[in-house]
Symmetry: D2
Subunit: 427 residues, 4 copies
């Protein structure tokens, strides 16, 4: 079976680690529409002999808020078909069941180790600048307004590389690879947990590239996770003719605009570092109609779960008050979340030891301050609650531009380092 790689004559099976990354980079898909990505991962894992779980066995979508609508999913399916995804695979994932879990028993007794890699891209237009390697070298995103701007393309490549290296079953214990959709937005991890992703796991390694570290540096543990709450607020007013009778309208656009400013003006906290971002505002239909509908999408973060809760409580007060000021209705829905987590010393030590043994690694840190959110924290907590241990390792990638920006990229030397570190930690 042949998939269209970046060079469409080449199959996935023929691609090396760098090739894999570039191929997934080119086929960027956003949360829960990772159809081509998921089908491609599952097929390669099956080819390698892993036991592969997909569909409802890999993820319980009843626990995932705000799935894409049927239109978006059918457009994504069309695109995946055009990219060569096979029909059988698509049938399983086309309603958003894009998680893939793969398991393999090694040849010797040992612990059960899970490796979590996330697979989704972001709704962002990729840089076409000649200085941007994917654009220069022809593997930039083939979807307009979708881009792997957080390195998950590399995560997928490392996940598949591990699958290849371990395919000989010459390792102690058992390995479970968790290919997670919808990390952006904080929706995939809990839905996979609900399908049993953390059951029986003794140790969890969650992996991330970049985060400010130069290539060659590895942080075996991470602190400073932001707890995260993502909200959707819908304002419902009343339209009217903007000249004849503006007073008959109830202006949802102004309510949303006021809420956006009010949310960004929520106080800083002495007790924790916080973040507020209203990332999306959509309101109204025409200049001569008082806007009757508006929608905000926003997120609140704090380095403490309690402060994040308090921030969300206040954000809801701001949203409701904006509705009250303009006499429009307000509906608020939580559409994503992440929590904080601590890394376990034993897991950190295992990664640190593996990293120190590699010549390509110039510096090993026990801890890196994350300064962002990842719903891997739910997986970490679930493993810890079941008596297991977890760490979140960061592999430096010398990114030339910030995460989530059009010029983000990774130094591809980081790919082998990541695969080596995790492989050694498992072995």
């Amino acid at each position: 079976m042949y998939f269209s790689g970046v060079d469409s004559r080449v199959s996935i099976a023929e691609l090396d680690l760098v090739g894999l990354r570039r191929c997934f980079h080119a086929h960027a898909e956003t949360a829960f529409t990772e159809l081509w990505t998921s089908v491609t991962i599952a097929a390669e894992l099956r080819r390698l002999g892993w036991r592969v779980l997909t569909g409802a066995e890999a993820i319980d979508l009843s626990r995932a808020p705000r799935l894409p609508g049927p239109d978006e999913l059918s457009r994504a399916a069309e695109r995946a078909r055009a990219w060569g995804a096979d029909a059988d695979g698509l049938r399983v994932v086309r309603d958003g069941h894009t998680a893939v879990i793969a398991e393999l028993d090694g040849g010797a007794p040992g612990p059960s180790t899970a490796v979590r890699v996330d697979i989704d891209a972001l709704p962002l237009d990729e840089s076409q600048d000649a200085s941007h390697a994917p654009a220069r070298d022809g593997f930039a995103s083939r979807s307009p307004e979708v881009m792997h701007a957080c390195g998950h393309d590399g995560h997928v490549a490392v996940g598949l590389e591990l699958a290849r290296r371990l395919a000989g079953r010459d390792f102690p214990g058992r390995v479970r690879l968790l290919f997670q959709p919808a990390e952006e937005g904080g929706r995939g991890a809990r839905a996979m947990l609900a399908a049993g992703a953390a059951e029986g796991v003794d140790r969890l390694y969650a992996l991330h590239f970049g985060l400010g570290l130069p290539v060659g540096e590895v942080a075996a543990g991470t602190s400073g996770f932001f707890a995260n709450s993502k909200l959707l607020a819908a304002f419902t007013g009343r339209p009217s003719h903007a000249a004849h009778a503006p007073e008959e309208g109830r202006n949802a656009l102004l309510a949303a605009a006021q809420a956006a400013l009010g949310l960004h003006a929520l106080p800083r906290f002495g007790a924790a570092d916080t973040r507020v971002n209203v990332g999306v505002l959509r309101a109204g239909t025409a200049p001569n109609i008082v806007a009757a509908d508006a929608e905000l999408r926003l997120e609140l973060r704090a380095t403490s779960g309690e402060v994040c809760d308090e921030l969300e409580r206040r954000a809801r007060a701001v949203l409701n008050a904006a509705g009250a000021a303009h006499e429009v209705g307000v509906r608020i829905e939580r559409i994503g979340a992440a929590t904080t987590a601590d890394c376990d010393p034993a897991a950190v030590r295992a990664i640190a030891a593996a990293a120190r043994s590699l010549p390509a690694v110039t510096r090993v840190l026990d801890d890196h301050r994350f300064g962002a959110s990842d719903d891997a924290t739910f997986l970490m907590r679930a493993v810890q609650e079941r008596g297991g241990e977890a760490t979140y390792l960061v592999v430096g990638a010398s990114s030339p531009a910030p995460h989530h920006s059009p010029g983000f990229d990774i130094d591809e030397a980081c790919l082998a380092i990541a695969a080596d570190v995790v492989e050694r930690a498992i072995r």
Copy 2:
């Protein structure tokens, strides 16, 4: 040739005045996408023997700002095809050339009279309430989020009815019917003027239903037009990861929200009545990315052209300052306009006399305060500058809900009144 009427077995030619109105109501299309509407009008006019101008002969689109994009036009063409528009007709109008001009010489010497009817609908979801006649009687808009909520469906029907009544050429002078697209947004009239719509016109009647008058009342003239300026403002910032480095972003969403509030807070004027409406705001892509792009669509109105200019000057200051506050770029484009105009006494008298002669007319006013904008004012001024006379007549329609709202409707008895008044004024 058969068009699909509301009852698809019936052709346009078989529909009476009320049937025409219902048919055009059901096939609502917004500014410059009135493809089915335009093709249907032109075909019926040709069937009746009028000389029909379409395409570039009817409208000069180089003078129309903000045409719909190719995607929107091709979706509209698909819809028009599905509704039965013939391929030849569509070929002429599918790039937005939706104006139709029809001319006929009567059998006797006399002045050249133009009648202007506008043909576009609004981006609004029509009421599905049982108390809303179009919903109850099955002729509600077949396009989601498009609705004839300003009575232009009735205007088109009256225009075609006049074409039928005058087809016998038994009237003095010459009649020109102007079927104008894109009145909403104030873009069609000037583009038709540029194609010569006002050349040689001695008298212009522009027609509107409703505007607060009950059925049976006719206003032979109108005052209190709002001059109107519609603007599009685009803000261009810089995206960044909302947790890692919010300070690296330049927030276009906040700039747009601040501008929206600031624009609505522009001062009232002692010297004129004014209106401000930001009707559309679109910003950002995802909750975890600082929004790099935002767009506002807004309109400014004043009962004085000078005040409208001053209001626009201040609005630009507000928009530019919002950009400066957030260090994002601002681009402002004027996407529509209307002006003020005065009705000529002779034209008013002609309409008033015609109206008084009709038993169905219970009250005739010489003047009605408009309190809104119509780019017919450009046509009126053009006719007046060329030595002709113009009036804007209002035919009461007992509308149960405000113009531009989902429950807007007309009492269909207004249709015959309007056709009778204009026919008698011409004869």
Copy 3:
């Protein structure tokens, strides 16, 4: 008894009409602190032989909201003493009883005519520009931040001039002069009504200079009064250290700022002309403390009483919502009001006839569009409810700068015109 005129060696009794106006201009006092003004008026009226009512006989302060506090009144009393007000007079007025009513019976039967002149100045710094006559000629306000910027100084002068001209009792009927405090803010008229100011009045003339008319023009009647509601909103939050624990604070300053913007963004109304002005905002104590207290003073106006009520209802919603957004308490108090009123044709005719008989009057209008508020409307309505007639006349003054601005002034030729018109209308 000698008062200090502008030239302190001159007594009030020796000043002519222009001299009176300049003297009151120099001694500007704001609402309910018109202590020197009131004492001076009452003394001159008594000297002329009129029956004078002061204190509780002239005004019922229990009906006046927001009197100045004891500190402000005692500072005003100190100033009035320094300006030469006598101690006995001051004792009567020093708690804010600054209204003066004077009555005189003429020598012949006839109607009872009331003339209302207002006496208060505004909290505004007068222009010191050489082009500003009061500054150039040495009669600018002697109080910093207080200025006669609405012509009430002239009104007082005309009231006293009428008192002199009529002192011979050679007129038909009876005349009552109403010297009203606190017109600015809309608090004095209703309090004088409560003390009986409108009882037994057959005809009321309320007088105003300026309002856009040039000197020589007189409008015998006025329309377009704005109904007016003035509110005070107090926000009570919680202070905290702005660096240590900003989240412990509840920010009253931000609530007030948001309310101010939200109030100015209240919609224009199709049904009436409206005004919104937040004129005062005071909040907070120090940059490093989260502001716990804030106060707004604002006014809402509409050319319809119902619309003014609706505007106030919405303003309260905006104020309460601003409090809710910031979790601070809100207290709203109505601190002033005016209503709309219509002038009676007979009263208008009487003034118009008088005006037409004067050579200095170049043009007489039956109606002038006011475009502002005056609580004389309460007096007009009260007289009309008792069967009397009223008009509000405007005497052109060629003001070089807008009312309520630092460069406002009147062409003093208007003074004699006003006195002549009213005197002739009475005779």
Copy 4:
């Protein structure tokens, strides 16, 4: 010479450490109006035999922004006189020269040690609650709206206690006591530096109570200082009549309100913790005048000096843009500042050793995260630049309410601990 203590029959000389604190607490005075405080401190120091510098020898006011105006200073002088400050002392300080420097040589060779205590109170109304010890025990602030809500009353008491304990000259080296005005607002330290306060100092101890630590705990060093920039922004518009011609006005109140919201919405920074507070907004004079003047007082803080500079740059953009939006002038002035600083290990060790030797001290920390600003950082940096060492020690005070709030208080057991720690560190 007798001062009025809390009990006015008692002189300062008779008061013990707790009595001193209560006396200064009752006589709270804000920045640069600490007239009674300064006179009282200087007199007591002279009585004890220290060499005392006051006036221009202690502080260079040409380096202090925003001194209080003559009115405020003369009211403060009146109050100080009423509280018993002697006329000679007042003459020196009444123009704001409220710093006091005292020096004494010990009997043995040794380093020159400076101790810095700040002396100013805050513009805040003290709690009258029975649970608030100063209210309950009768030593609450005697000035309305002024309160020692940051513990500087205790700092002064400790400074004088040290002066007493060291008056016998039985210590090594030299001691210089720096009684600094205007720490709040960040204006006093640099002005004292300009007068030479840091010259010749080998070691500096700056002292603060509270900051979240319970009584019994002492932090020998401090980190996490916020760099601080305090700004005053003045908006100058144009007044107009709010009904007649609102469009003639240029609304400074709205500009200030918009700026306040915009400033609080400045982004969080990934690179440093930040704070923004607009603490004061004053605008306008009357509800019926468009507000022509407005003033903001605000502060910006960051745990990095560079980020504080960037924050100030952005704040200026927001302020200027608010002016541009409303077409009002903007003037921005920096009225205070603080910087970041690091404590020197040797100085920390000296304090830690002294603290550990005290039975009343239950816990000694090498470092406490400050989370606020203090312009002592300028003194620390000046000493360090001259080759000396500095630390900022925090003495736990079990404060029942946050700093800068009406219920702030200290457990008076902290006073002796502070005096003991510093005395031992000096000896």
